[in-house]
Amino acid sequence: MFSPAASRQVVQLAIASIVFIAFGLASSQPGAQVPPRKLSDWLLEQPRSPDAYPLGLSWRVPSEVASQEVLRRELMYSLSGLDGSVSADPRAAGRLRDWLRTLPVTGRVPVAVADARWLQANPARNPVIQPSHTVILPSRPQAVVVVTGLGDLCPVMHSPGREAIAYLEACDARAAARADWAWIAQPDGRVQRFGVAGWNREAQDEPAPGAWIWGPARDSGWPEKMSERLIRFLATQGPAEFSDRAATPAPQSPVQKSTGLQITSNDWGGAGLLQTPSARIAPAGTLTLSASRVSPYTWLNLMVSPFDWMEAGYRYMDISNRPYVADPTGKQSLKDKSFDAKFRLLPESAHLPQIAVGFRDMAGTGLFSGEYVVANKRTGAFDWSLGIAWGYGGARGDFKGFGTRKAQSSEGGTFAFSSYFRGPAAVIGGVQYQAPGDKLILKLELDGNNYQHEPVNNNQRQSSPLNVGLVYRAWENVDLSVGLERGNTLMFGVALHGRLDRLSMPKLSDPPRLPIAASRPAHSPDWQTVSEEITRQAGWQVEWIRRRGNELRVTFANPRAGYWIEHVDRVAAVLHRDAPATVDRFAFVYREGGIDVAEHVVDRATWVANHIQTLPPSERRQAVIARAAAPLLSDTETLYHNKGRPRFDAGFGIDYFQNVGGPNAFVLYQVSAAERFTLRLRDDTWLDGKVRLGLIDNFDKFTFTAPSNLPRVRTFLREFVTTSKLTMPNLQLNHSGKISDNHYYLLYGGYLEEMFGGVGGEWMYRPFASRTALGIDVNAVKQRNFHQNLAFRDYTTVTGHATLYWDTGWQDVIAKLSAGRYLAKDSGVTVDLSRTFHNGVSVGAFFTKTTASAAEFGEGSFDKGVYVNIPFDAMLAKSTAGVANFTFRPLTRDGGAKLWRATTLYDLTNARDERTLGTKPAPQPNEALPPEDRRETWAPAPALPAPQLALETRAGPARWAKDDTFEFRLTQALYGQQFRNVEVEFDNAHRLNLRLANDTIRPMSRAIGRAARTAARMAPVDTRGIRITFMDDIEPLVTYDFIDAVRLERFYNGEIGLAELTGTVAIEVHAPGAREKDPLALLGDLETEAEPRTLGSLVAKPRVVDRVVDDFSAAIRTAGKVDWLRAVGVGGALVLGSSWLDQHAYKFAKNHADNSAFKAVENVGNAIPWLGLGAAALAAWDKEDPRRSRTGFAATEAGATALLLTTALKPVIGRARPETGNGRASFKPLTVDDRYNSFPSRHTAVAWAVATPFALEYDANWLYAVAAITNVARVGSRQHWYSDTVAGSVIGYGIGRIFWESSRPVNRPGPSLALDRSGIKLAWEW
């Protein structure tokens, strides 16, 4: 047993010596290699030996040693008790530590399959063995080695067919009985974790000979993180080797094959037994479509698990013995629609059950609504559930429960929060038994319903509260169910289920991929031929091919892609085959609507290396980098311009329309032929159109027009789809453009959608690679006629929305928040939340709440729905850019209806989301993959990108200037660590300047440490200083100026400590909220464990709050310096003087009350303060121009202050408004009566407060004239006396001026020079 201090010393010594010991050992192994060659060649040269064990082949790479050292250090740190995570017996920890200390750090890299012929057939998986690498082909071991929780090693003779638990039992049966998990390091380097207890047993691979197994007893004090590190470290050791004589005999117990828990649907579609739900939830991405029948009910359910902890779905329920009242023919039985949701509260563990809470029919008519809390515990093949249900599922009423359950509203569709978990409740529960063989599941349950309070007076006879049933898993994705419910009624069901996140289709219909060779052509090709080949391979139209230096720039016109990276790879393959050897990079510029939206840059050498061999992790670089489109520079040479690109483009397709669950028929459908076309007038101006011809439908049944209390903007659905078979759903002219780097606009006009035509425009702010974007659209539209030809109906409106798009970064959730005016002239908000899986499939839900009341909205109360979007790329054998959208919306109503815009800027600028590169096909099923690529049931938690540990070849300053490869390498290394918007500049003062952003590594100082470490390793050799400006998208947050680059490098080399570095770092904080307590503490940090992004971290206090607090503090300080006597004197005189005009102005306004021009001025003037406030907020938010942003903050804060101050002053002063008729001198202080809230004018105060900072900052005095329009409007509308508005102006101006003064940059000292023993330091602050 070592003391912590002693342990540290031993650890240091051990670590310091291990590197050389490792190489000493490695190089002394027989079979060590010298020449650079393919591993397949090396394997073929080895003498055939029956003892050789290719599965345990070790490919050892020196550059991997550093990262494995980090792993080992973290492990030893935990075992030494320094991080306090290990609470195991210290003797056991000591034994484990002592043993681990004897193991070398090998640098081993797993090999996909150590089979020479397989590697030759899969050259991209064939490693190249460099002279410094070592390859070891071990002898076949006979044992597996169990590392026990006591810190001992227990070799056990291998026995085929045994799972890990058998080996654990062979070593220590008592400990094995209490083990929950077994971690396995397979001899090929794969790491696995499997459940081995009764509650979590799962299908698993058996350990191969030479495997390491770690399976400590539960509650023995070994945390999961340590277990994970231990097994990952053991995997670097290669096969466990032990003398056979020392090994425990092979397990003698019967061979068992474990299976995992099967989760199946109940009658209502969710995971459960028969009628009752369970706490189980299918894995994230599972979609289940099921149908069940228990007379008189039939359920058709669609359930999705967007997360492992949530299940939600939509249902149609048919009640066969009750008529659909709205059906005029009376033939159709009653249909009910409903939403369900279930949330896991607690995952199952050894001692605790899984607990979930759920809501059934939560926002429908409420006929079958109910809630439940249920717990599940598994014991081997049995899965037990027990819970309490309220509402329909708990109608038996075992308990009286709390409160009373209210009846649902007749409109349905509302969330009846006051009824949830109220009224009588009943016990529900049961058991599921999984028969051997995975095919059959038996179910027995206690139903909580007594069927004597059935909705629509439809009580059923119940002979028994116990229901029984079985599920037969007929195929992998199909379950058939049968059962006996209520003791007297048969149940039949079928469920189709699959994983949306694993949806993928091999692209068999695409052209075959080009083979990739290491060599490059010597001469330039015919670029037109290259362009044609690119179009053939990737389907993209080349517009330009240009060359600048060693970079080939290819511009694509309106490229479309589902999986961008697939297209990028195909284009890169063509260019690598054809482009001359002197080209080192390919930049693909994506041009949409005449705008260069973004570009992907492919580093040729890296891309080729990644495709023709397996590289060790430390040598893998980012082959493709996404960045904002670079401007066209004058030294760019044009190699090819596609002048002959056709202006007219058309495509034929089939459209399908359906209306489900209506009163006329369960499904009303139409299949039609659709011809879409585009006529390009210019790059930025084009005409889109679509003509549709109905082919097959059952619209003869479609007779029902839904009633409505709002303008009929959507409920003429029947008329629109049935009036004419030949329609023109869309014909519109579009024009798009770019205002500045991150601002875009789109103007359009014509027949915008099936039901509306008109004109509109959209503006969007979207910084490159930002998680947020903001769009505002405004449209003046008129309802089209039912024929959908050129004519219109009478209804017109102006509609538009401000939409915030937010990629939350939390579990791939994207939020869209929209606020604005809808087609029926109702105003409100739409919230849309979705999860997008890595294969592009997304599932989501939305709702809209507007000023239209539930009664006005009608059935459903408000608009809502769920949807599934599936890229065609995930379903079709040919690459296709489209997306199949399936939206399930209970009803089509008029409230909350948005204009269906065919083209949006968010879609046009899609390439600015650099995460598009991360959307790729789901991996093939495990059976089709080599072992290394298989999806394991467990994988180590997502890690932060590894820090730059490897030393790269550095350039001299001249070489750096001449060859931009070095600069690009640095960008690549930073990009690989999730830095975005990276800008690199090496200036004449030999200072390396970096500007970059990173929203993955937190806190900011840790990210800056990573960037500094990378820069110190890769900067030109004569770099004097390194300056890093860290950004949030495009807003600079902080600048770290390392004025002595050599000292920084010495710090990262461990030659000096942080204290010696501190004096050479200047930190300038640009955004007050970005200030950290200790901004240097994490500079040398190597942590790779990602802090989970929790919901809490998403709603944590944003930096803007700190900024506003800072600004207000500064404003208060500035206000303290104001000569108030003079200010109040001048202001008071102005107000008093202006009061002389009060009566005259009032009379004038009264006499001109009917003047239309005057009314127009009033409308504009009344809107100015609020439009100005919104515009100022936008200017503040948009960080593209720091001066504008700063002024925007000042104006917004001043406006808000003026609003609050005047609101507070009005009731205190209590001046009568002109229209009260009490005269201008009538006061009623301290009143809340709005008729006496005349002084001062709030509108004018806000208008002047917002205008003043901009007017002062930009010398734009005309802005005061704009603000004065509000004075005219307020007096003209007779809401205020003239002097009220003058007082408002004075207050607004004063507040605006204070905020502007306080926001101006403070003059700082100029250059400073310091001399110390490390050199001369020059610093310049501004």
């Binding site: 201090a5 540290r8 590197v19 550059s63 030393l951 070849t953 070489r959 461990g1054 030659e1055 050199g1319």
Partner: protein, 120 residues
């Protein structure tokens, strides 16, 4: 009773001991971080530099501000050293471990402090 009387003193002693241990841990952790950084650098340097044929360079300082770079090519590995043939001895005279640095000379040096580089 006597034990109870001793409790405050025992608590004090335990507190001092704990404080000292924590202080030692803290300084130990700092030392550990620095020595570990050295270990990582050694491993990374060895992986990058200990390859015959690699061009390497080393920063030499003269006084407090003047910098000079000497360059060479790794010709042999002699664990834990490398042999470097000097191709550019820099603008000023230098010596490494008492051996004068001159163009063409082959020096047996520790790989740390050398970095792979390309100048022209």
């Amino acid at each position: 009773m006597r034990v109870r009387a001793l409790m405050p003193m025992l608590c004090f002693v335990a507190g001092v001991a704990t404080h000292s241990a924590l202080a030692q841990d803290k300084s130990g952790a700092r030392d550990d971080a620095q020595s570990f950084a050295r270990t990582l650098t050694e491993a990374a340097t060895w992986a990058a530099v200990a390859i015959p044929g690699v061009e390497v360079c080393k920063l030499m300082r003269i006084g407090i501000a003047e910098r000079d770079w000497i360059r060479g090519v790794v010709v042999d590995i002699d664990k834990p050293y490398i042999r470097v043939r000097i191709t550019d001895a820099g603008r000023f005279p230098h010596d490494l471990d008492g051996t004068a640095v001159s163009t063409g000379a082959i020096l047996r040096v520790a790989p740390t402090d050398w970095t792979p580089c390309k100048f022209d």
